[in-house]
């Protein structure tokens, strides 16, 4: 509809019949945007119902698998359908027979709808009505949780708290080994018994083993038990087998609490058996003192502090912590730190590799979400233009019929 600039304005108006006044219908656009948001919500519900919705931020295993092709297609489909319908409705409500003006209404519906979704997303309720907003929110939440976990360690080593605890456990085990090997006296208890008594499992150990059991990963539970205790293979096997049977018989909802309780009972049994065994064997004053000394000096806080220094690669500081806070001899401390250092290093490397893997998986997921969001928005714009164009065409057809 080019305007001939050579003619006078009066002739131009008469020849081309340019509509006067406002050509934009905000009522139509409002209706279109409402339909756009409502349809987005409807499609999100349908997506959830048929199982192609966006993974939950708490479902880390699903996120590790990446954004599925089904989810990507659903995001695209939702945006295209919603913007097309919104644009179509806006153009029809505007009542324009001009394709171009109809398409511009569709474009406005897309832009206003996108703006609203962004605002809703920023206020935290976008994920409820729109799949893109939900996906972006999920990716953001997961990234934040991983960053929070990585930075939760006091030494800022990028390792989670559980690693420090495990390093402390390694030091503790090493200490027990050294102390028990140095214990003397005619009736001193068996070295293995002292070690077992000292290493009786605490609440954190139980928690780690419980979560592995609940996840159905018996191999992990077995390795956790082997790592965190010096129970014999037969004892570990009996605990794991028993737990497997118990877990199968319990319902999903209450299994966590029950497994924990059952495991605690098992550990308490082992613990009390060891104490009785030591009490029976430690007849002389000398051996009892040594056992007491060993138990008292292994304060969890000191072990944690020494563990942190080991993580930071400062074994000398770990030795200082132990020498200041315990009555252990220098040779003992030397043996403890040197022995624990190698084991701790392997553990740290493994933990770092796991953390990197998790971060990489989340990075891939976030990238997939952003790609989908970008393509969906771009196709949504085209769909809005087409919708408006078709809406104007529909208006023309209706008027033609009426004439």
């Amino acid at each position: 509809m080019a305007i001939d600039t050579n003619n006078t304005s009066a002739t131009t108006a008469a020849t081309f019949n340019i509509p006067v006044g406002h050509r934009i219908s905000w009522g139509g656009i409002f209706a279109g945007v409402s339909l756009f948001i409502a349809l987005s919500w409807l499609m999100l519900l349908l997506g959830s119902a048929i199982g192609v919705s966006i993974a939950d931020a708490t479902d880390l295993s699903a996120i590790g698998d990446g954004l599925g092709i089904g989810s990507i297609i659903w995001i695209l489909l939702t945006t295209i359908i919603a913007t097309f319908a919104g644009g179509l409705l806006a153009a029809k409500m505007a009542g324009t027979a001009d394709d171009r003006i109809g398409a511009l209404h569709g474009l406005t519906v897309w832009s206003l709808g996108t703006l609203l979704i962004i605002l809703l997303g920023a206020s935290g309720i976008g994920g409820i009505v729109n799949s893109i907003s939900g996906a972006l929110g999920t990716a953001n939440k997961v990234s934040m949780s991983v960053i929070a976990r990585a930075s939760s360690s006091e030494v800022n080593s990028g390792l989670p708290e559980s690693v420090i605890t495990s390093i402390a456990a390694i030091i503790k085990r090493q200490s027990a080994r050294i102390i028990s090997s140095n214990s003397s006296g005619a009736n001193s208890p068996n070295q293995g018994e002292v070690r077992k008594a000292i290493e009786s499992l605490n609440a954190e150990d139980t928690g780690a083993i419980t979560s592995a059991l609940i996840a159905g990963d018996t191999e992990k539970a077995r390795s956790e038990l082997t790592q965190r205790s010096t129970l014999s293979k037969a004892e570990i096997d009996s605990i794991i087998t028993g737990a497997e049977q118990k877990v199968q018989s319990w319902s999903k909802s209450d299994s966590a609490q029950q497994v924990k309780q059952w495991l605690n009972e098992q550990f308490n049994d082992v613990r009390s058996a060891m104490s009785q065994s030591i009490a029976g064997m430690a007849g002389s004053q000398l051996s009892s003192q040594e056992v007491n000394r060993a138990l008292q000096q292994l304060d969890p806080d000191i072990m944690l502090e020494a563990g942190q220094y080991l993580i930071m690669g400062k074994p000398e500081m770990a030795k200082n912590v132990l020498s200041v806070n315990t009555n252990l001899s220098e040779a003992d401390i030397q043996a403890i730190v040197d022995g624990a250092e190698k084991e701790a290093q392997q553990f740290i490397e493994r933990a770092k590799a796991e953390l990197n893997e998790a971060t990489e998986a989340i990075g891939t997921y976030t990238q997939a979400v952003l790609w989908s969001a970008f393509i969906a928005a771009a196709l949504g714009m085209l769909a809005g233009l087409f919708g408006g164009h078709s809406g104007a065409g529909a208006v023309r057809r209706v008027y033609a019929v009426q004439r």
């Binding site: 990238q367 790609w371 393509i375 969906a376 771009a378 196709l379 233009l385």
Partner: protein, 44 residues
């Protein structure tokens, strides 16, 4: 011309989303912007 351009954009964008390729997706986005500008200026 209009149909051809829009078809190309849609093809590139969908391909870009599925393979998550920077060049394909980026080219699709760029052509889309050009088409939009042409449309708004009344040339398409």
């Amino acid at each position: 011309m209009r149909i051809g351009l829009i078809g190309l954009v849609i093809l590139l964008l969908i391909a870009g989303a599925l393979v998550q390729n920077v060049f394909i997706g980026g080219l699709g986005g760029l052509i889309l912007l050009i088409v939009l500008l042409l449309f708004l200026t009344g040339r398409v």
